[in-house]
Symmetry: C2
Subunit: 132 residues, 2 copies
């Protein structure tokens, strides 16, 4: 694995650590300082812009239902100054699958986008051609 991919996976792991620890300041520090950031929480519309994105995280991390989340099977793809990680998110209620996009800013990988959505049930699907 390249050192870039390793650094991206470390940033991804920190994201889930601050999420788990309800660390609002830590979450803020992990996100890009720019405004070209977005987030899609499961079942939410897309939210654009740094302030709006961080507001969603404050609501989640300070809310009563902030989940005990861990990340599994992360895979990093790096292309220059942008990278993305695909991973599973394990929660008490079940599993999600996520895409986390990072941009390199002053040598550090910062989150610019996160989308999480429902993962499939463990059993194989009958008709893989009928859904998108």
């Amino acid at each position: 694995m390249s050192s870039d991919a390793h650094a991206v996976l470390e940033a991804n792991e920190r994201f889930y650590a601050v999420f788990r620890e309800r660390d609002v300041a830590g979450m803020d520090a992990l996100w890009s300082r720019g405004d070209a950031v977005a987030v899609i929480h499961p079942g939410w519309p897309a939210v654009h812009g740094r302030d709006a994105v961080l507001e969603t995280w404050r609501n989640i991390l300070e809310g009563p239902g902030s989940p005990a989340i861990t990340c599994a099977n992360p895979r990093a793809h790096v292309a220059g100054e942008l990278a993305f990680v695909i991973c599973s998110e394990c929660l008490p209620e079940g599993e999600l699958v996520a895409t986390n996009i990072f941009a390199r800013e002053e040598g550090r990988w910062k989150l610019v986008h996160h989308q999480a959505g429902p993962a499939p049930p463990p059993e194989p699907m009958d008709e893989p051609g009928t859904v998108h």
Copy 2:
């Protein structure tokens, strides 16, 4: 809007056009020639690698349930040689929200990742702090 962002949005629109037209060869041409590609269809596990990703698209586009899909409200973010678009996907059954990641290869924006998941119902949610 920058010319890069404009070109990324054009590639994004072509993606939905070939999807709608069930154009398997066109879909293949839109994806990166590299193997560092992935896809997360709604309710599916993540699929990694060019051959496996294109196989999912063949199954969908050649299947009986290939949807009449259109894209709405796309927003592009460009950072050097990688870019991502967040958009809504409108289908007869309802709306999804998607992240499409593109890499620039020989001057053209090629898909390297697609994740789509359920979009929220139109009414506001009661407890935005309780879900992630």
